[in-house]
Amino acid sequence: MKLDPFVVEVIRHGFSAAAEEMSLVMTRSARSPLLREAGDLSSAITDGRGGLVGQGRDIPIHLGAMAYTIPELLKVVPADTLNDGDVLIYNLGALGGNHLNDVKVVRPVFVDGEIVAFAVSLAHWPDIGGTWPGSYFAKAIDTFQEAMRIPPVLIATAAGVSAPIMQLLKANVRDPEACEGDLLAQIAATKAGERRIVELCRAHGKAVFTATQARLHDLSEIEMREAIRELPDGVYEGEDYLDDGDVNNAPARIHVKITIAGDEATFDLSGSCDRVSNFCNTTPFMARSAVAYAARIMSGRDMQQNVGALRPLTIITRPGSILEPGWTASVAAGNHETSMRIVDAIFRAMQDTIPQRLSAGGATTAGVLFFAEPRQNGSWSMLYEVHGGGEGARHDRPGISATRVHLSNTSNTPVEVIEANYAIRVEQQAIRQHSGGAGTYRGGDGVVRAYRILAPSMHLTTCIERMVIPPFGMQGGEPGKPCRISLIRQGASVAIDGKSNLVLQQGDLVTIETCGGGGYGAEAAEMKGGR
């Protein structure tokens, strides 16, 4: 079909606008601080077969996984069983999933009885049941210990929200009231997306609308192929390590072998270590999501992120490995830790070939501290805190301090919001001076944040990487300082691990110091900028 290039552009705008509108509905009406303050959510529009065509300005790791969310769903829920008004909810890893906290709410969009698109709202639920409040259980032997597993079920139909399913979900989470509000917000977001898509489809006609979706994929494919062709053919290997979790709790290896041949690239991650003993396993979808991000950075182009851009890429993971550990392996932390290490490994593989497109290692850890306090009615009050750190330096500038890098982009929760809502006093929030690695350009500095516990007791989960293996320097730059976590109880220091679940006492002071970014280049730092 011959398409007016201007109409393609107009429809493309429409998809992005619809996805952005969905995210807006979520942040404005959700309940959990993790969603409303930190913004740990994403929205996407796919075509009628599940191919991503539009996304919000959200979280890259989510958006990468969304490429698989619908196609995998349709393998178990055939499209012809869906009706107008249906809304599905699910979180299983096997269905294009990442970790159980990230719950997808999906609405097929019908025009004249035919599915023309799907509106997908993904949100990180602060708690989804399981062994420990927050559903991050460091020693979990499998996903059953981690959290509630939700297969695709109808949370709503044209008749309205399903009360029994809502009851079932609320009965299995630790803050049912907030959960209901968040879920209603997700459903409302998909409704908003649907409205825009139907408008768009009707305005341009179904034939043009559908052909445009295919064209958007083709345009991204063409661009990705051109970008790969510009890279020198060859085999590039790189590796990086997670702090622990391999045999004898040794650092866990992530390895990539990249083969560039003409306009195609293969990312073979088979050399990564076996399934680990903590919650840092992840799904093959996360591996693909991480590769998609890294490939886009390697391309040096500002292209549309969609399925077309993935077509020239072959991504291989090995069954039984940390990246394909089976569908019941524990994966809570792998979502944001292991996926980041894949990006690190790819950057290290390419650092001598295209250093100007990359950056030195940054704070590739979410630095999670999760505080939970039981309320009198049996529900829990919960605070999920992520922490930014230093960005890696580049060939032309120092790294920036206190930011999120690569696959993540969630925010902090303001001190004034924490103190008004939780029995916690934040005693310090500062730049961690001199934590960035030296180099021609310095890495950015991490942050320090200190939490004083005011409640009689409080549950804490830590999920912090880069405590042992620091962010790497590039082209002779030095690594950044690794993360640190400390607990002071009644004046004495108590040992605390980066991946742990423990109970805090009143008066405890928990301090996190996040890692600095790696430096770039071997010249002395004082020569050119940096702090």
Binding site: R31, P414, V415, I431
Partner: protein
């Protein structure tokens, strides 16, 4: 002072390139409009020249209201004076840490965050601490104040921002510092005055912006007071859509941060009220940006702030949504498709058709190629429109696409309009309204040119091009209400609310908001007070405004909140809810009436030009002088005056009313 015979009221809008002026005399129902070049180095001089340009002497001016982008421009262009920040000890890095979030998801070449507004060496951590209920955890002692004073003197800054943790809940420590520092530095901004709301980064950012704007604002406002000594008649337009006396602005210059765009919206509000239009979308398309705003039932939507670059400017203001697309936006044909903006050719070199060295195709070049721009247009030092130059820069794109230059230009306009449509959608969606039910009010240089195409794309039925469209923001300065706005965090749960305590707080706020009006001679009886509770579910973040009246009725508030929540998000639950803050607007409604302006008559070519429209190319099109439009004009036609162009495509009609507004609709007259 003015003699009794002269009662001219003057509004000016000081833009980046031009200063627009409009003068109105009520007795004789006379309106005059002019444009003079802005003078960034001598803004007051430009204002006085503008008064001369409408044929008035200073002594004839009774009231002079100006809106300006001076503060915003200084912020955007990073030309702010050095400012020091005083924060609670342990939190002095608040600006550099910000909210962690990076600007662009997939680009490493640009830094994830722009540099902090205050460098680390000018941030001071002060030993003191409050909790979220305003209780003093660590008192501010004399020795600490001395330490601060010593440090401040060393820095040599002229302006200091004080933003202490939880100061919105208890201003005690900030007030002490306000007293003590006023003799140490010239300008002190206190966060509880500038933006008394929770979330430390956003409040600190607003306070620092205010501190940085103060030296600039005080200097030129003082000069203006000296050179145009008309007392309380001298007023400034503020971002929340009304005017305030100069004395109030000197302490809180941030209130005029968005005063330019706000003035345009304010003029739209009076048109919406005059015409009885219940839903209106303003469409103000300029050279580099386009501003849109929603007006419902004669009230413009308000918002709690906006981003300037990646920095939050939190301050109650009109919900003007700006996008980086205007006449000068550059068109690119990349492998991923055709895009418009956000890069702009600016005023230098400007679009290729300006013939000043512009080599990249812009939206204005597309309009020139289509025949919409008068080749003899003279604006400032710009002479003529070079259509050939425009065609030359569009040609490479046309060749790449295998289309004619005309088809390509029409496509560029279509994509530009899609960008605009997205902005319209954004402001209507936030309010739960279908934009297609709105009337489009088009002004600014490009608004009336693009309005019909945009309406076709978006499904809008009716357009109004206001009579003074070329000086519309200046007009807004005059027709706006005289008002002042206060907003404060209250954070009171609705269940078990202490009505008497809350009512007391509201009474205080009403007093605060009314005081500047009373100080300027407005009688208490003339003041209207509008109240809105910003409400949310206890667990939510964003509060939505729910209007209310006194005495406070908690049941009514809850019902109204649920209805509003359902309207906005499509659902509501029975969770407990909270009044996050209260917004009080005290105003004396405007009584200014505008008549059809006597635009400086200027010969426009009344012949025909060859123009192209979507679906009909290269047709001889009537060119009509706007001053001569007294009857229906059927498209295709171009209606021109000295400063603006209205495009009436085939199938559209333009109908004038007695005051010179043009109504554009589809179909037969």
């Amino acid at each position: 002072m003015s003699d009794s015979a002269s009662h001219w009221e003057v509004g000016t809008d000081i833009g980046g390139t031009f200063t627009d002026i409009i003068a109105i005399r009520r007795e004789s129902a006379e309106t005059r409009i002019a444009k003079v070049p802005s003078r960034p180095q001598a803004p007051v001089q430009a204002m006085l020249e503008a008064i001369e340009a409408v044929g008035l002497r200073k002594s004839e001016v009774k009231r002079f209201v100006h809106g300006t982008t001076r503060v915003t421009n200084a912020i955007v262009e990073g030309r702010l004076p050095k400012v020091a920040l005083v924060a609670t000890d342990g939190f002095a890095d608040v600006l550099e840490i910000a909210r962690y979030r990076r600007r662009d998801l997939y680009r490493l070449d640009v830094p994830p965050k722009s540099p902090p507004l205050v460098p680390a060496e000018l941030c001071f951590g002060l030993a003191e601490r409050l909790d979220h209920e305003g209780r003093v955890l660590k008192a501010l002692d004399e020795a600490e104040i001395e330490r601060l004073v010593g440090w401040l003197k060393q820095t040599g800054v002229q302006s200091v921002a004080v933003a202490l943790l939880h100061a919105y809940a208890n201003p005690l420590h900030e007030k002490i510092l306000g007293e003590r520092l006023k003799d140490v530095v010239a300008h002190v901004s206190l966060s509880h005055e500038v933006n008394p709301e929770a979330r430390e980064y956003e409040r600190t950012s607003a306070t620092v912006f205010n501190a940085a704007a103060m030296p600039i604002a005080v200097e030129y406002l003082s000069e203006l007071e000296q050179r145009l000594p008309i007392g309380p008649g001298l007023q400034v337009f503020h971002s929340a859509g009304a005017m305030v006396p100069i004395s109030a602005v000197k302490r809180r210059p941030l209130v005029m941060a968005m005063s330019g765009p706000a003035a345009g919206v304010s003029a739209s509000v009076s048109i919406a009220r005059q015409l009885g239009t219940s839903r209106m979308l303003t469409f103000d398309m300029g050279g580099t940006t386009t501003d849109v705003c929603l007006i419902v039932d004669g009230q413009a939507e308000m918002t709690d702030g906006r981003m300037l670059g990646d920095k939050p400017l939190r301050q109650p203001m009109l919900a003007v949504h700006s996008i980086g697309a205007g006449g000068g936006s550059i068109v690119r044909n990349g492998p991923g498709g055709l895009t418009v903006g956000p890069e702009s050719a600016g005023s230098e070199p400007g679009p290729a058709c300006y013939g000043r060295g512009g080599t990249e195709p812009t939206i204005t070049d597309a309009n020139a190629v289509l025949g919409y721009l008068n080749p003899e247009t003279r604006l400032g030092d710009r002479i003529g429109i070079n259509v050939e130059a425009a065609a030359r820069v569009i040609e490479p794109i046309a060749q790449a696409l295998g289309l004619s230059i005309t088809e390509t230009a029409l496509g560029i306009i279509k994509i530009a309009n899609a960008t605009m449509a997205r902005a319209l959608r954004r402001v209507t969606v936030e309010r739960g309204i279908d934009g297609r039910d709105c009337t489009l009010l088009a002004f600014g240089g490009g608004g009336p040119m693009h309005a019909a195409g945009l309406a076709d794309l978006y499904g809008i039925e009716s357009i109004v091009v206001p009579s003074a469209s070329s000086a519309f923001s200046a007009l807004g300065c005059l027709t706006a209400d005289f008002s002042f706005l206060q907003q404060q965090t209250l954070r009171a749960a609705l269940d078990g609310i202490d009505l008497s305590r809350v009512s007391e707080r509201i009474a205080t706020l009403i007093g605060d908001a009314s005081a500047p009006l009373i100080a300027n001679g407005v009688a208490q009886a003339e003041i209207d007070v509008e109240l809105a509770a910003l409400m949310r579910y206890a667990a939510q973040n964003d509060a939505i405004p729910v209007p209310f009246t006194l005495p406070l009725d908690a049941t009514r508030l809850k019902t109204d909140f649920l209805a509003r929540h359902r309207e906005l998000f499509g659902y509501a639950t029975n969770e407990s809810c909270v009044i996050e803050s209260v917004r009080v607007q005290a105003r004396r409604p405007s009584t200014t009436v505008v008549s059809r302006p006597a635009i400086a008559v200027r010969p426009v070519s009344t012949a025909r030009r060859i123009c192209s429209f979507d679906g009909s190319h290269d047709i001889a099109t009537a060119i009509v002088d706007r001053a001569a439009v007294f009857d229906v004009v059927s498209g295709p036609a171009i209606i021109e005056d000295a400063w603006s162009t209205v495009v009436v495509p085939p199938g559209w009609q333009a109908r004038p009313d007695a005051t010179g507004n043009l109504f554009l609709t589809r179909g037969t007259p």
